[in-house]
């Protein structure tokens, strides 16, 4: 979960693959024995197996058992229950409410992040060098703050009794926000959480997309300008199509990260999220570690993975199509 949580640890998205390398790579592969690349990849494969495959396998096994606290303490094998956990989860209306909420949050937050990220990237192209450097530095600071810390800071800022946000709004004449609770109404609460997620997500998107924008040939833009295209037309018909592979990739990554939303909700709701604030990740965690229904939590996680794969299949197909066009 954590591996995909943090944008800071993610590899930078590759920028449009450079085609000249491809033939040489193929030639090399034909000449050398097959085991060299395998050997070189071995440490990675071992790490992946240890850190991803093993826990995933255990989780899968667990989701078909009924593990309780006493099995955890004694180390005894929990009884097998077949598909009971899955039936229980899938027939529970609360679970589907959580799925819907997570999906809506993902769509909304990713859309806002991408639009704002692209906006900032376009702005970076227009401003002078000094301002651009200042923007990058400011965004690096945002990027460098651990999620836990930024969530804690947001929590304090929107606190009803001690928060600076209510205080600041209160200073507007005629407005009374004393003790206003930002979380009594889930819509407002989710606006706060979405703001936090988008705010933390923009630096990665803006910097990556800005890097992509530098690949847009200047003469194409000039030609568009000469042909009398408006800036909006230039954006739609020239810049966006060239950026498309990159946008697909950053959207995919954002979907993965935001779909697994955990830390922000967890911290902002004081590690006891109400029903209206449960996402798939917090719901699985609450079941598994809050109520010690480890198997139920595992089943929820397995279903989450399957749902994610369903969503991702679409993007993976898109990516292959883009590759074909290239």
């Amino acid at each position: 979960m954590h591996a995909v949580d943090s944008p800071a640890t993610a590899p930078p998205a590759p920028i449009a693959p450079s085609t000249p390398d491809k033939p040489t790579a193929r030639v090399r592969r034909r000449r050398r024995p097959q085991w060299t690349p395998l050997f070189l990849a071995l440490p990675t494969l071992v790490l992946l197996a240890g850190l991803l495959a093993y826990p995933l396998g255990r989780m899968l096994v667990l989701s078909f058992q009924d593990m309780q606290l006493r099995h955890l303490f004694s180390g005894a094998t929990p009884p097998w229950v077949g598909f009971d956990n899955f039936t229980q989860v899938l027939t529970d209306g609360v679970f589907w409410g959580v799925v819907r909420r997570t999906a809506i949050f993902t769509v909304v937050s990713v859309a806002i992040s991408i639009v704002l990220g692209l906006g900032v990237a376009l702005l970076m192209q227009r401003v002078s060098n000094g301002v651009r450097v200042a923007m990058v530095i400011a965004m690096m600071f945002v990027w460098a703050i651990p999620q836990l810390v930024s969530a804690q800071i947001f929590k304090w800022m929107v606190d009803a009794d001690f928060g600076v946000l209510n205080y600041a709004i209160d200073q507007i004449p005629g407005v009374d926000f004393t003790n206003h609770s930002w979380f009594a109404d889930p819509t407002q609460g989710w606006i706060v959480i979405t703001t936090l997620v988008v705010w933390a997500g923009i630096p990665f998107l803006a910097i990556t997309l800005h890097a992509g924008l530098t690949q847009v040939p200047q003469d194409l833009r000039e030609a568009a300008l000469v042909d009398g295209a408006s800036p909006w037309q230039t954006l739609r018909t020239i810049i966006l199509p060239i950026l498309r592979p990159l946008i697909v990739i950053v959207t995919t990554l954002s979907v993965i990260w935001n779909f697994g939303l955990f830390t922000q909700v967890w911290v902002v709701r004081d590690s006891k999220p109400e029903q209206e604030y449960q996402t798939l990740a917090t719901y699985a965690f609450t079941q598994a570690f809050g109520r010690n229904e480890y198997s139920l939590g595992s089943a929820i996680s397995v279903i989450t993975v399957i749902l994610m794969l369903g969503v991702m299949a679409f993007y993976v197909r898109q990516m292959f199509q883009i590759g074909d066009v290239d």
């Binding site: 303490f73 609770s181 004081d270 609450t286």
Partner: protein
């Protein structure tokens, strides 16, 4: 009777033991097994909750010193936070390097006792064990065996601003009608000055409070029929209690209704509230706070309400008997030493030191003594009229799933009617307790 004999034996052993080691310790409870318990070179690990660190560190240190003097073993105390301690404990107990002694809240205990997390203890070896408070000792028992030792208890009282009461010409209320009358008077006198003013600060997710109102009206959370639990919050008496509590929140409180009680003393310290319903020790917490909250040794700083706060029994409302218990981990390699440490930490000497910290002792025979300590009168009285959560193995799951908090938030934010919210909570409680 068995326990009396055991205590007599322990006392007899004390005399022998005291003579043998020439100890100056007059609190009793040493026994001959101290000789067998040669702990030289060993160290036991103790998990206490953060309250011990912030409020009665010297009691812990004194018990450690006496324990080390008697057994030669060392003690490492690690302080835990309430917010995540169970998750941490679960993960730790699944391994082999476990703490020897663990503190748990009394409502959290049954599940762990049932799951085999704690070793059986010889009840007779602990001082005052014949008189342990039932609300604390009950969760320690399973099949007539004892798995943990009561540590301390807490009861909730009415905490109020003496200056505001004087200014309004009122005294601490002695009936619920007087309480609401006082709240009306305070509201009329102070509300004009500040829209933040709360005649009675009551956070919306404060379930210990709301359930006290339920029990006050003769309701209860759940009851057991045969081997099935039934949620009873939608019963007429419980509904009346919930309604009365909700009226108090809506009529006299201000602030974030989605909050629980964890920062109520700090909110009260801002000087914008006239009353709140808190633990005895919150009288102190509202008046003085650590300069650096992360450093228990930093100096105490007076708040705005210093010297203007007093406590009284909450009229007409029985208190939840909260508290903590100490258990010896079943996987501990030092079980006899761990039990020995608990003995020192819960003996009369340690308990009497705790009384001065505005918490309640673990035994009824010490409760009267508690009432004579200044500042403790209200809580000691409150403890005599108290209620406790359903004694169900899975009760802790109801707490962890925050069922009651959800119900209360739904009521105070107006999402659901009292009856609808209670019916929903009954369903959840039944599902959890019978699951």
């Amino acid at each position: 009777m068995r326990h009396r004999i055991a205590i007599a034996a322990a006392l007899a052993a004390t005399l022998l033991g005291a003579a043998a080691c020439g100890g100056s310790d007059d609190s009793g409870a040493n026994d001959t097994s101290a000789q067998a318990l040669d702990g030289k070179g060993k160290t036991i690990k103790v998990w206490l909750m953060v309250d011990a660190q912030s409020s009665w560190k010297e009691v812990v240190e004194d018990a450690n010193a006496r324990f080390t003097a008697a057994t030669g073993a060392n003690v490492t105390v690690e302080y835990q936070q309430w917010a995540n301690h169970l998750t941490k404990l679960d993960a730790t107990l699944a391994g082999s390097d476990v703490p020897d002694v663990v503190e748990l809240g009394n409502t959290e205990m049954p599940k762990y006792v049932f799951s085999g997390a704690f070793a059986e203890l010889d009840k007779g070896r602990f001082e005052n064990s014949a008189n342990w408070l039932q609300g604390l000792a009950g969760p320690c028992e399973l099949d007539a065996k004892t798995y943990c030792v009561p540590y301390y208890a807490g009861a909730r009282v009415l905490i109020y601003r003496t200056d505001l009461f004087d200014a309004a010409g009122i005294k601490a209320p002695t009936s619920y009608a007087e309480l609401t009358a006082a709240a009306d008077a305070l509201k009329a006198k102070n509300a004009a000055g500040s829209n933040k003013f709360a005649a009675f600060y009551m956070p919306g997710a404060y379930w210990y409070a709301a359930m006290s109102w339920v029990y006050a009206e003769g309701g209860q959370i759940a009851k057991k029929d045969g081997d099935k639990w039934t949620g009873t919050l939608a019963d007429p008496q419980a509904l009346a209690g919930l309604q009365k509590w909700a009226d108090l929140v809506k009529g006299y409180s201000s602030g974030d209704v989605t909050k629980d009680e964890s920062d109520q003393a700090a909110i009260f310290a801002q000087g914008q509230s006239a009353m709140f319903y808190g633990n005895g020790w919150e009288v102190g917490a509202a008046q003085e706070q650590r300069k650096d909250p992360n450093d228990p040794n930093s100096e105490l700083v007076a708040t705005k309400v210093k010297g203007k706060v007093a406590a009284a029994p909450m009229p007409g409302i029985p208190s939840f008997l909260g508290g903590s218990n100490l258990g010896v981990a079943a996987k501990s390699q030092n079980q006899p030493l761990a039990a020995e440490w608990i003995k020192y930490f819960t003996d009369t000497k340690a308990q009497e030191a705790l009384l001065a910290k505005a918490v309640l002792p673990n035994a009824t025979n010490l409760l009267d003594k508690a009432a004579t300590v200044k500042g403790n009168e209200a809580t000691a009285l409150a403890a005599k009229s108290s209620w406790f959560v359903p004694m169900a193995e899975k009760w802790a799951d109801v707490e962890k799933a925050a069922v009651l908090q959800q119900m209360l938030r739904d009521i105070v934010t107006g999402k659901k009617s009292v009856a609808d919210a209670a019916a929903w909570a009954d369903g959840e409680i039944e599902k959890t307790l019978n699951g």
